[in-house]
């Protein structure tokens, strides 16, 4: 009886673990099309950046940022992640955020703004989830607990 229970629990744990690893990169441009192509992504990023700049929780992180540059790189990044015909010309995400301390709450605030922007663009729930799923892995690259490492530049390089 006890061993049966443990077996069931182990099976459940394995299912959780396997499902957790079953995220493959996009092999087609389905999400890109769902987002409305390049113009849809541009509209989404614009809505997102307006919301971010109005969000007192994280607006200060973007105070000294070249917003046009950020806008263009974000459009490229989301386009690539969605399987679209774009090239990301920015720095890798970890390197791009090396000079700032992004906490868990900061990252979640950005996610909430993205969710709000996707709602405002009236994107279907399933499309929203596809994009959130694609972008979730960024959290581990961007969020850091401590201060920036001493060798990092104090201001972002253009």
């Amino acid at each position: 009886m006890t061993s049966k229970r443990i077996t069931i629990a182990l099976l459940l744990a394995c299912m959780l673990a396997i499902a957790g690893c079953a995220s493959a990169p996009p092999r087609d441009d389905a999400l890109y099309q769902e987002l409305g192509g390049r113009s849809g992504i541009e509209a989404l990023v614009e809505t997102l950046l307006f919301r971010v700049s109005d969000d007192p929780r994280i607006a200060h992180h973007f105070a000294d940022v070249d917003i046009i540059h950020l806008n263009d790189r974000l459009v490229e990044f989301i386009c690539v992640e969605a399987g679209g015909p774009c090239a990301y010309t920015g720095k890798p995400m970890a390197a791009a955020h090396k000079h700032v301390t992004i906490g868990e709450a900061d990252f979640n605030a950005l996610v909430e703004n993205l969710m709000g922007a996707m709602d405002a663009r009236k994107l279907p729930r399933t499309t929203q989830n596809h994009l959130l799923h694609r972008l979730a892995a960024l959290q581990r690259q961007v969020v850091r607990r401590g201060p920036p490492p001493p060798e990092a530049p104090l201001v972002p390089q253009p």
């Binding site: 006890t2 229970r5 443990i6 069931i8 629990a9 459940l12 744990a13 299912m15 959780l16 673990a17 499902a19 957790g20 690893c21 995220s23 906490g103 868990e104 709450a105 900061d106 979640n108 605030a109 996610v111 909430e112 969710m115 729930r125 399933t126 499309t127 989830n129 596809h130 959130l132 799923h133 979730a136 892995a137 959290q139 581990r140 607990r145």
Partner: protein, 290 residues
């Protein structure tokens, strides 16, 4: 500070005492990631503790929740209420009081008690992972120390003790793009317990005195960031000779209108309880998070 926020002051003071938290009552986690409060006072679903910790604080914030739950099965009713406090999304401390209205059983047996009450002191520690962002599930270990306020009746019907401690490990994971494009939450919990009917009928019994390993599971689909529907299952030991004890199950709908309020409604099937068969009925829970 507005008058509405004044009740938060003791909680914030406790936060500063418990840890040098840089901010009190932070709300940096995503909506619904604190779960609801299960009947024993731990963050979770309705009857199963999950690996998530109460409130919405991140690694640099603190928070918590208060809850009230009522289950009515026709013959019985259970009221549960309590509060929990979470430090830095790492440690959750909780207290809950359950009052089990004996209802029909009291009338049938002319019992001199109309209710059984127990207090539950809970602690849960997140040991690994993040519900949303890590590939592996969020894993937490916890205990629930339970004390009957009056153990006379449970001891008279065969229970070995009027207090006991459950220990459990939970794994929870939110899949952002699953279940037909909707978000899916899965939770599995393995519990070591000797509690009869979660402890309301005492601990250990004439039929089986030792602890049992039981598993508990939950699955929920988020139709919307604010709305989840799901099912739960909770295996139970069967220690008492005078009455059979069944596993529990429920189907639920949970609404998170914002980061302060959660409302859960469910239909629960609690099986046979103290000789009264087919205990099924409504479950309603409200939670206030800070």
């Amino acid at each position: 500070m507005t008058p509405a926020l004044r009740p938060l002051l003791p909680a914030c003071a406790a936060a500063l005492l418990l840890a040098s938290a840089s901010a009190c009552a932070g709300q940096g986690r995503l909506l619904a990631t604190g779960g609801a409060t299960q009947i024993e006072g731990s963050a979770g679903g309705g009857i199963v503790p999950w690996a998530v910790l109460s409130g919405y604080g991140t690694d640099k914030q603190s928070g918590g929740a208060a809850f009230y739950t009522r289950v009515e099965t026709g013959d019985y009713a259970l009221d549960a209420y309590g509060a929990s406090f979470t430090v830095a999304n790492r440690v959750e401390l909780s207290f809950a009081r359950q009052s089990f209205d004996l209802g029909e059983l009291q009338r049938r047996l002319a019992l001199p008690w109309d209710a059984l009450e127990q207090d539950i002191y809970g602690a849960k520690v997140r040991v690994a992972g993040d519900l949303v962002y890590t590939r592996l599930p969020q894993v937490s270990v916890g205990i629930q120390h339970k004390r009957l306020r009056d153990g006379t009746l449970p001891l008279a019907i065969g229970a070995r003790d009027d207090r006991g401690t459950d220990a459990y490990v939970s794994a929870s994971k939110l899949f952002l793009d699953a279940a037909g494009g909707y978000q899916l939450l899965l939770n599995a919990t393995l519990r070591s317990t000797n509690a009869n009917q979660t402890g309301l009928l005492g601990f250990g019994g004439d039929q089986r005195a030792s602890r049992s390993w039981v598993w508990e599971g939950s699955a929920a689909v988020l139709l919307d960031p604010r709305l989840a529907v799901g099912v739960e299952y909770r295996q139970k030991p069967d220690n008492l000779g005078f009455a059979r004890e069944d596993d529990w199950r429920d189907v639920f709908i949970a609404w998170f209108p914002n980061k302060h309020v959660a409302v859960v409604g469910a239909w629960a099937d609690l099986g046979s309880i103290a000789t009264l068969e087919r205990q099924r009925g409504s479950y309603v829970s409200v939670q206030w998070s800070f």
